[in-house]
Symmetry: C2
Subunit: 485 residues, 2 copies
Amino acid sequence: MISAALRVRDERPSLFAQVAADIALLIQKGSLRPGDRLPSVRRLARERGISVATVLSAYERLELDGLIDARVKSGHFVRETAVVLPRSKPKRLALAPRKVSVSEGVYALIESMREPTVVPLGAAQLDASLLPIKALNRILASLARELSTAGAHYDMPPGLLVLRRQLAKRSVLWGTPLGADDFVITAGAMEGLQLALRATTRPGDTIAIATPTYFGILQLVEEMNLKVIEVPTLPGVGMDLDALEIVLSQAPVRACLAVTNFDNPLGSLMSDSNKERLVRMLEKRDIPLIEDDLYGDLAFDGSRPRPAKAFDRKGLVIYTSSISKTIAAGYRVGWVVAGRYHETIKRLKFSHSIATPTLLQMAVAEYLDSGSYDRHLRHLRERIRREVARYRSEVASAFPVGTWISEPKGGFVLWLELPGQISALALQARALEANIAIAPGPIFGARARFSSCIRMTCGSPWSPRIADAVKKLGELCYELARTPK
Amino acid sequence: MISAALRVRDERPSLFAQVAADIALLIQKGSLRPGDRLPSVRRLARERGISVATVLSAYERLELDGLIDARVKSGHFVRETAVVLPRSKPKRLALAPRKVSVSEGVYALIESMREPTVVPLGAAQLDASLLPIKALNRILASLARELSTAGAHYDMPPGLLVLRRQLAKRSVLWGTPLGADDFVITAGAMEGLQLALRATTRPGDTIAIATPTYFGILQLVEEMNLKVIEVPTLPGVGMDLDALEIVLSQAPVRACLAVTNFDNPLGSLMSDSNKERLVRMLEKRDIPLIEDDLYGDLAFDGSRPRPAKAFDRKGLVIYTSSISKTIAAGYRVGWVVAGRYHETIKRLKFSHSIATPTLLQMAVAEYLDSGSYDRHLRHLRERIRREVARYRSEVASAFPVGTWISEPKGGFVLWLELPGQISALALQARALEANIAIAPGPIFGARARFSSCIRMTCGSPWSPRIADAVKKLGELCYELARTPK
């Protein structure tokens, strides 16, 4: 290292100036902030393989420049009055609708999720007060305290056995008896969907997918260079199977992706007979069904609808789900039951992210084992049923006449179709200016349909703040309806 | 649901028999084990949307079949003597070398990592006793206890600011001053590498990569349908840049992937001047360099070599690293500094796995902030230097004359070239029969070179068990050398 450093010195005017410039840059970028202690002279010298004298010279230069102070016996600190360039400006959340692409609608939504001041009617997540996060964190805390070496090593695919056992036990409630060996644990359902698509398709392939559909899936599909045939979702009914039948007879579909229980955004529930028809229709052509059952535990009527996986006879249904909508999104724990693709998915999981965090899997397994989950679900289902009904009636009175509002049977999002060709992207932009996030319709379709639709999340308990936001959205709709197109 | 259930009843002989069969299957699969309690009659009825009478009939059938017992006032339980089919056989770890593909060498290695009885000379991970996992878990425990709602929500890309700030602060030690906004947090370095490859290539593209290289990268590249040009690594020197120069002048290389500091498996350190040459060579052709700096903190001489990223002037170097080799592999926390690809990587992270677990990022940030990491690194570098030296001298005396052993300058793996055309895959198979894992050479090359090489991890402190394993490996080499090919 010393020789390398010397070589660098030969090529450049002075090494100490370079070190000083590096640190000045860190101060400018805000990586080192006023009052922060700099690395000790000896440490920086050792780590960078340069002499103590060089570091001392660099620190002297920084002192002369007014950026740092030396304090006797305690080291060097960034000066409180150091001239720091302005940090990057707060992100502009608003969008100018004319310049907007669908992706920008997505990223504006994502950015808004990082802003606590924004009223969260955009992202599909439940307020923490509705989730059993305290209980789960308490379990995680005791596991982390007691199992002092847990998490040191990779927990290789298929993932932790205790968690897979808990999931297998629950499978009787889904009407789909599964063994622990049928599961692969993933970083949430999204990683599971991704691996399922990679296991069944190649770039350029065509897949069939319900529309409208969750924008994250559409972005993934775009990134994977898949062609998409959109099959309409019939509100209340789910994917239009007659339409799918026609699609399958005419296009070389390599996989079909469906959310059978309370799809996002429409909240429809596919009947058991339709699920069976869907599975049979695909198995006749040997086409895998990728089933996303993220909302299956959230039926308003308290039942637990079966997934299409329950009708799978040939291992062609790849079932994915997670705890993100019912327990904790930030734990990133999901699973895949992949049938004949099990080995492929296991291997893909390894080459994509190697493993899922050990302690988080343990905590989820213990939480499921505690029996609290069923109690929680009973309360949650009833709670979100009431919340969604409340949002629904408030939207009905605040929004322009002619607004169509979905009637979900589960889950916690509403889908609205606005009258008079109101632009959803314009509404998103205006709403963000008023610190309200919504999800604009165009991001739910591959071909930017749904230009006058929006998704509204009912994941926050009704409150004056929410009431104001819904009223404001209604007013914005009236304004936009008056704006000439 | 009731109507759907009735419809099912119409189609099938009896619903209760189906429910009973589902539960019997769960018992056979081991999802429900002797002594386990079954769901209560009311709960199962509610969840599956069937009548209480149907569930009662199903449970009666299972009692008659001798599979479950009803206990007064406490419910139904799997009978202790329930006839349970044998669980799936223990995985056979051994490989018959003739039928073996390179991938099977990898999966045998991965399977062996799930077996605590196997001596772990295969996977590149450190024994928990060498990692600061206790301190990290203690931090995680108090965060999970104190922040009762942390982890409820997605922490959207680029990831947690407190962690990105800590990483930015450390960047001065790498000679690469970075801001918090330069980082995207990923599920370990592997997800980072994956996203980097997806950001810079399309299927069918050609990339240049050092050989031998970590097999996980080769599997990923294969899955992504990339073509690979292998550039030799010169032991002690790193990627052969003269060879790379020729490759670049002749092939349409879209990206170059390199481990500049203590590459796995050779442990070479590329000099600063070579790093600069590498970066300039690529930037001249506008080719991105994907740099994997997983082992950069593990120099034996106590210095912290700069990454090639330090020489990046055009934002063409995508830097990846993680805590997996120095703190905890099972936390799955890594990062990418992507230069001009920053926005792309951020978006890919969202569509691949949405977010990285919140609490684990917080714990790592707090650990880094505590200052313990540098103390830990000082000890760890010295410790692994000694361990690697010990393994090296023991291998030298146990293995056949003519065995070439690498001389790493950091990290904790050795690369051996066996004499007399000993088959590494045959050695892996024989070693696994003796409960010893190694990584066979062929999995480190895209074209199954290195047939007589093995990688040996020195991640476990030297002990009689390790000593026996190394001696046994030496004996197996002698035996294989005598076996006619």
